[in-house]
């Protein structure tokens, strides 16, 4: 037998899904609760409404509008599956919930719903025992937006933090031409590449993790269009796991330092700057505070306000070549 369906005469009321009366009443007190939403009754009790900003991640064209509105930075965050890409973004936003981050102030965001969703599983309201970040699904690429202010003159910057599924970067690392199709990588002011600290802790994943990092940097080296204009951040994530791992953790730190040194040596001239960071954006263990290492990374992301206004709707070379043929 089908369960009783909870209904309300007001089609705008989502009490069936959320248990919350649109009028904020106890359902027993709501005159519309329990009534079937017929057309005539619905017309009587519901109100017309107009849409407001969705608050979701921005598509590339909307992100371009944001960059046109004022100085902006595009941050591409590249890393394998579950390395903590979305966690970096969510943690930055959540640190602003507590106040300014090293004198960088939050000025607003057009993607507050998306940011709230990203933060949920590290918030107590999720009723979890351990912070957890949902994986970015394939085909859901978009930009998180934060507007921030910094310095005595309160210089404002629009931050666009790209969020793409790890699988897509994994594929692109093996085929640099694919990276040329990623607008956020081509336009990025700072390309941020992650090394999953947890994967450095076990012998069967350690060497592959380092090799994957080097392969991504190599792919970037071959695909970035703006020679010497983009900066690189190499980030060791999940540092709380490394701290708890004793000798394996020490080895992991040495591996990271060696990888950074190798990248500097091989690719130093290719980037406007290379910096390394160690973070525990949303620690699973209380050996480190929430957002450990993030203020330093945020400062690196934000420094140098001379960002240009390059287009985000980057056209892959193949398309441009075809355009040229058509024009000719």
């Amino acid at each position: 037998m089908a369960a009783d369906v909870v209904v309300c005469a007001n089609p705008q009321c989502k009490v069936a899904e959320t248990g919350k009366c649109l009028e904020g009443l106890e359902v027993s007190q709501c005159p519309q609760f329990g009534k079937t939403p017929t057309a005539s009754l619905a017309a009587e009790v519901s109100q017309s409404a107009i849409p407001v900003n969705s608050g979701e991640k921005l598509a590339s064209l909307t992100a371009e509008d944001v960059l046109r509105a004022g100085p902006g930075k595009v941050i591409a965050i590249i890393g394998p599956i579950e390395a903590g890409k979305t966690t970096l973004i969510a943690s930055t936003y959540d640190l602003f919930q507590k106040g300014a981050i090293n004198k960088i102030q939050f000025c607003g965001s057009r993607t507050m719903i998306a940011l709230e969703k990203a933060c949920h599983n590290s918030r107590a309201a999720s009723l979890r025992e351990r912070a957890h970040m949902a994986r970015t699904k394939l085909g859901t690429f978009g930009y998180y937006h934060m507007h921030v202010s910094q310095g005595l003159d309160h210089t404002k910057t629009h931050f666009l933090l790209a969020d793409r599924a790890g699988e897509e970067y994994l594929t692109a690392a093996s085929s640099p031409s694919l990276l040329r199709d990623f607008p956020e990588v081509q336009r990025a002011d700072v390309v941020t590449v992650l090394l999953d600290g947890e994967r450095l802790l076990t012998q069967d994943t350690r060497h592959n993790a380092r090799a994957a990092l080097m392969q991504v940097i190599q792919a970037l080296f071959e695909s970035l269009p703006r020679m010497g204009k983009q900066r690189l951040a190499i980030v060791l994530t999940k540092y709380d796991e490394i701290l708890r791992a004793g000798q394996a953790g020490e080895l992991a730190k040495r591996d990271f330092e060696a990888a950074v040194a190798s990248i500097r040596k091989s690719f130093g001239g290719r980037f406007a700057g290379i910096e390394s960071f160690i973070v525990a954006a949303s620690p699973a263990h209380d050996v480190l505070a929430f957002g450990y290492g993030m203020p330093e990374l945020l400062e690196y992301w934000i420094e140098d306000f001379r960002a240009g206004h390059a287009e985000l709707n980057y056209q892959p070379e193949l398309l441009r070549a075809m355009d040229r043929i058509l024009v000719e």
């Binding site: 989502k14 649109l22 904020g24 849409p51 959540d94 602003f96 351990r130 912070a131 929430f290």
Partner: protein
């Protein structure tokens, strides 16, 4: 006599943030003339004051206001004169907090509310000082629970819902929506009113310091965002203490409040340097 200038004031806030209680107390204070106020009552004119009279009646009797329903938004107009004796007609839509909740959760604004908001010349944002939902993190809560030897029950994780967002997130987004199409109006002044100020008075913070301490995201947004608002902050206790619901026993302290000779003296307003009973202060700042 010159016609009064008409100023449309949008009274915004999440559900149960004290919007209607404020209007009730404002109406009583203006009409009773019991205490010195920045704005003075001018005249009734041809308005219909049934709604305001009912609100003020409950307020005087120490009975909590009924929830304002989305479907029964009322618009009230109050004729006052300001400190320069200029006649001003203040128009307030008594909007339901659920209409603002709906904007955050459903990402749409009821047309009736949108019409009021687009036409506003000034804005009052109400925040209940004692029901602020601050963000908390799994790491902190689990760590504290373990230190206290309390078992953490994580057997039923909760999926994301917009309603779970911290108060400051909802308020920042509300102000952003009010500043963006299709609801954008010409900047103007924004009065931030912390209601139920008596509940947090023990913290001995100024309203401005309270904002920075308890709602740091909103504080950053107001001080640094490109919103165009000129803003000021007040702490207001419009009741002086707890009122009772219908058919409820009177809470402690209500008898003392009701015994005051002048109901207006139940009110406390903290804005500038001194505490006053002048509940018109935030509105006077908006219109002066």
């Amino acid at each position: 006599m010159n016609a009064p200038s008409n100023i449309k004031i949008s009274v915004c806030g999440l559900p149960q943030s004290g919007k209607t209680t404020y209007l009730a107390a404002l109406w009583h204070v203006l009409l009773s003339r019991e205490v010195e106020t920045s704005l003075k009552f001018s005249n009734l004119g041809r308005g219909d004051y049934t709604h305001l009279s009912l609100l003020a009646e409950r307020w005087r009797a120490g009975v909590r206001q009924k929830r304002t329903l989305v479907s029964t938004d009322k618009v009230v107009t109050i004729n006052v004169s300001n400190v320069a004796s200029k006649q001003v007609a203040l128009t307030f839509p008594d909007m339901s907090g659920e209409a603002f909740d709906h904007m955050w959760e459903a990402r749409e604004c009821f047309t009736s509310a949108a019409d009021h908001l687009k036409a506003r010349g000034a804005t009052v944002l109400f925040i209940h000082a004692d029901t602020i939902q601050s963000p908390q993190w799994v790491l902190d809560v689990v760590s504290l629970s373990r230190k206290l030897g309390v078992e953490v029950d994580a057997t039923h994780p909760v999926s994301w819902s917009a309603s779970l967002a911290p108060t400051q997130v909802k308020l920042v987004d509300m102000l952003q929506m009010l500043n963006s199409p299709p609801l954008a109006a010409d900047g103007g002044k924004l009065a931030i009113v912390f209601s139920a100020w008596d509940k947090v008075a023990e913290e001995r913070l100024s309203p401005s310091a309270f904002l920075a301490t308890r709602l740091p995201l909103l504080d950053q947004y107001l001080r640094h965002g490109n919103h165009g608002y000129e803003f000021s902050i007040w702490g207001v206790s419009a009741q002086g203490g707890d009122y009772k619901g219908e058919d409820e026993m009177a809470p402690t302290g209500l008898e003392k409040l009701l015994a005051l000779d002048q109901p207006s003296s139940r009110i406390s307003v903290f804005g500038g340097e001194a505490e006053t009973h002048d509940i018109t202060e935030p509105i006077a700042w908006l219109v002066n």
